[in-house]
Amino acid sequence: MKRLFWMLYVVQIALVLVLSDAIAAGISVDAGLTPAEDRWILRTQMRYMERDDDPTSMNRKMDRYTLNIVLAYGLRRNLTLVLKQPVVHQEISMAGSTSKDTGLANLSLLAKYGIYRRNTPEHTFGVAMTFGLELPTGADAFTSETWDVNSGLYMSWRRGSWASDFNIAYAWNGLADESSRGTNPGDELSLDWALAHQFSIGGEAEVALAPVLEVSYKNIGQDRLYSHDVADTGETILYISPGIKFTKSSLILEALAQIPVWQEQEGSQLKRSTGGFVGIRFMF
């Protein structure tokens, strides 16, 4: 057991070193499969996002660290409830000076419903949909100041040691405005395709390692104010994201690098750089 502990620790250190300069979206493999009834999942992720390549002469740069804390519970075999609270630390540099801020971002409540699941000796196929609500925490600069609704459709397919997922999600932002500014944030469309291959390690079927490759498209609409588009908002990004997932019984370690291969921002926004995350999932 001690050997395993140190092995996990070394893997974790390696992942941190490799990915400490990255940002990411979550590994989406298995998103279409709901967990067992009465199953608890505690998940944390440390993400890093960097924005630079300032098109203006102000030489702006932004570093954002997000610690996502997620708790999920299998209320029924096909219904999972999820609670997510991000904690954000952000540093913005501009014209030689740097400002730092830390606080809570929006609190998310999410329900995931398994629409279809087929298990055969050859393959497993599952379809699930989600319906979520983002609540403004109201405490600081990272909350959206609006109530946002999101929904997604997730499909997971597994055959032998191969797994593939296709996900589509849409967020209707700014349904109920809590701010006095009246800005309506742009909606978000996300498409994601993932492929993974799982290797079993050891003879007791307790440990597995799975390299993952994801292709993600994200479109964020421009904010609206008094029926007019807000300048310097809205963007479209295409990512290719290699990652890895290590599973040991009820413990999953995961990491993903997110490489923007194409992006277009409205106005004079900063470009997104390569980012990533490291995360841990504990199931009980």
Binding site: L17, A36, A208
Partner: protein, 108 residues
Amino acid sequence: MRNRFLLVLVSSFWIGVIGCTVANRGVITEPAKQDFEIRIYEVLGMDCPGCHGGLEKLVRKIPAVQEAKANWEKRQLVVTVRPGAELNDEDIYDAIGRANFTVGKRIK
């Protein structure tokens, strides 16, 4: 600086979680097999080491079950029946369904 910050933060958390997991993990002693009835079921849909934990948890809640151990590679669930107890297969099948898996055949 950024790398060190991440390294320290994430390392500390993971060391804590993994350490607690290791420390709280009890030693399961194998019962003498001749004293217990062993049943083996085929289960479809288990595809990774993390999948079968939910099934084992549900099966262990059945009063007549002494111990349950699933193997995703063999697609098998091994159930040890509590001595003197009557275990209904339907209870096992119900647990397999609630874990989002599909019952195959009873192997033993």
